[in-house]
């Protein structure tokens, strides 16, 4: 049995990151796009914690906590924008959000 190295965790994080990118680029529902962004941020967090173990100090874990704070702020503002948009246009599809396109 191969012992689990840092590279294993980084490969898992890369898979989650690519899944998130696919979700952001292809889905139409804004809620699911925001969830894909959460997937991407989680992949970054997993990388940071894996590197924290690799170097044997806690700076990566502290940074992961800051990324979590960012994710919370981003989700709150993004969902607020979504509710305001749904109130005005009555849809949650990304390709109908084109008020700034002229």
């Amino acid at each position: 049995m191969v012992p689990i190295t840092t590279l294993h965790y980084i490969v898992v994080a890369a898979a989650l990151f690519v899944l998130g990118v696919i979700g952001v680029l292809t889905r139409r529902n804004v809620v699911i796009v925001l969830m894909s962004i959460e997937l991407i941020l989680n992949a970054v967090n997993l990388n940071l914690v894996a590197f924290s173990r690799m170097w044997g100090n806690l700076h990566g874990q502290v940074f992961a906590i800051f990324v979590t704070v960012d994710a919370a702020a981003e989700a709150a503002v993004g969902l607020g924008i979504l509710i305001a948009f749904f109130r005005n246009k009555d849809t949650v599809n990304v390709d109908e959000i084109d008020l700034l396109k002229w």
Binding site: T26, I32, G56, A73, N93
Partner: protein, 182 residues
């Protein structure tokens, strides 16, 4: 000081890692493919919990706790509330993927090829030292970095204050954004 490299074998076997990683990736796939947004949100909760398990395997119990409390407990409740506020009946009936989805998929595949080639070429950049971090004092050590000790500012105290300011701005932004009349 923090890293203690004992000769002790880790308690969790590699099978834990493979199970948690497979669960995370499979439910991540479910997040981006489900038609119903509620199912996506539930799959995302499974992903977050299995990533928290991976944090535990990486000797980061505090980050795992933050992951469960803030992500799975806080952010996902926010998501589920918003899903109930917007009309998912109609949006789950119409087309789920936008018209340019082959382009997006190709770009994501190109990104994956880039990752794989970087990992194959540069796997010497990620040495495995078999490090074990002290789990019992993990929270205290993080607190020393965030808050400082013995009256002195920690290394990340200023960044911590900035983060609290960011959260304040986010609260105000979310409240103002969702008001009917500003």
């Amino acid at each position: 000081m923090i890293a203690v490299s004992t000769g002790m074998a880790p308690v969790a076997t590699p099978w834990f890692f493979y199970g948690l990683a497979g669960l995370a990736v499979a439910s991540g796939l479910a997040v981006i493919t489900r038609r119903n947004a509620v199912h996506s949100a539930l799959a995302l909760i499974v992903t977050l919990l299995s990533v928290a398990g991976l944090y535990l395997m990486l000797y980061a119990p505090f980050v795992a706790g933050v992951q469960i409390i803030v992500y799975a407990g806080g952010i996902m409740v926010l998501f589920l509330f918003v899903i109930m506020l917007v009309n998912i009946e109609r949006s789950s009936k119409d087309r789920q993927f936008n018209r340019m989805w082959p382009v997006g998929l190709a770009a994501a595949c190109a990104l994956m090829v880039l990752f794989v080639s970087a990992f194959v070429k540069g796997n010497k950049l990620f040495p495995d030292r078999g490090m074990t971090l002290a789990e019992g004092s993990n929270t205290q050590e993080i607190a020393k970095l965030l808050y400082g000790e013995a009256g002195k500012m920690g290394q990340y105290t200023f960044a911590f204050e900035i983060a609290s300011l960011l959260l304040l701005v986010a609260i105000l932004g979310a409240v103002i954004m969702t008001k009917k009349k500003i």
